[in-house]
Symmetry: C2
Subunit: 219 residues, 2 copies
């Protein structure tokens, strides 16, 4: 388990979800082959990923579904809960507060902040929106979620770091600067839109429209 690559962790996440489904279907064992088919990858990839953490399967039989699921849950750190706050009570922030997936994965949202006085005082899912100036280290937030407009994102990140969070989940489409000791993950929808736009532009029947750009000479 020397070093685990980011792609491996992401796939672990996928395996976990497949295993939950398969467990719900009542299957006891699953082979790397079947697991791989559900994900559209190769069985060797599955075995390689899992073997980076230990030896969870049995030759000739496959993996015990519930056992592997629990192992991965532990590996991902999903067997504990995290105290989280959300900054930004706009559309995305509101959606996140209500999002069940958060709680399901062990994130307890215990506060919501916003800079806009019009939003402060409103209630979201039983939480009163508080002014951003109240964000501090007192409440022991472990994770901060940034759901603000992009222009405020860096400032909020700094405030979260000052408040002592260990990790930040950023929904603003911008690379943020945080100390190396803080873990940052960015969910960049914009990038996905653009990646989709690129793919559509370059695979559609009309074909890629290569615009020749004349070599620029002086102004």
């Amino acid at each position: 388990m020397s070093h685990i690559s980011e792609p491996t962790v992401r796939r672990l996440s996928n395996y976990y979800r497949v295993l939950e489904e398969v467990a719900a279907e009542g299957k006891r064992m699953i082979s790397s082959q079947l697991l791989a088919e559900r994900e559209g990858i190769t069985s060797a990839q599955v075995r390689k990923d899992l073997s980076a953490f230990g030896s969870f399967g049995r030759r000739g039989l496959g993996y015990h579904v519930e056992h592997l699921r629990d192992e991965i849950r532990a590996l991902l750190g999903l067997d504990r809960r995290w105290k989280a706050c959300i900054v930004g009570a706009g559309h995305i922030g509101s959606a996140l507060v209500s999002y069940r997936g958060f709680a399901d994965q062990g994130f307890d949202v215990i506060a919501v902040f916003d800079a806009d006085q019009d939003r402060v005082g409103r209630t979201l899912e039983g939480l009163v929106v508080r002014h951003i100036s109240q964000l501090g280290p007192k409440e022991g937030f472990e994770i901060g979620v940034i759901a603000t407009p992009v222009r405020a994102a860096q400032e909020v990140a700094d405030a979260l770091v000052a408040a002592g969070v260990q990790g930040i989940l950023n929904f603003a489409p911008r690379k943020l600067k945080v100390p190396a000791s803080i873990t940052l993950r960015t969910v960049d929808m914009t990038m996905e839109f653009e990646s989709l736009s690129y793919a559509l532009t370059h695979t559609s029947d009309s074909g890629p429209r290569r615009r020749r750009s004349a070599p620029r000479r002086r102004a």
Copy 2:
């Protein structure tokens, strides 16, 4: 421009945003070095990415900010508009309808569907939520956005394909099966949560808690 890798396209997206900022700051030229610093990558990476599409810079000077921005905009297919519909008028769907980023990147949301009769008929940003059964090929949707619970996602994907969309943007945390001719991009928040959880678990002061799993012998 033989083949462009997915990571390259994603970085292109980032460069585009940096260039918009830099243009707003009034700078005329930017070097690969400066562009790279903003993204936290190497200058060689920037040059390599861009050179896959053409020769946009000038030696000794760098890249002309507005020119490069416009080139990338065209490369990403952002110089046209796409007719999109959103399926799912819950928290995430509602947030997406209101999300300015969509319109900014050229996605015109012209319809919202939902399976829940309680939501049908409501108005979101001037659009009346319609029943999913009305989703069909008549309106010429080019892109479909899935913002439903995970259990409905595959069914909705099939319906979108039947309605003739070319691309699907999926916010449900599951791998979907679509024909090879359809482009699919998934924004998987759950995976990002879990990746964050993994990182926090394995970098925190307490260190990785390696749970030894005894080799499983027969039941």
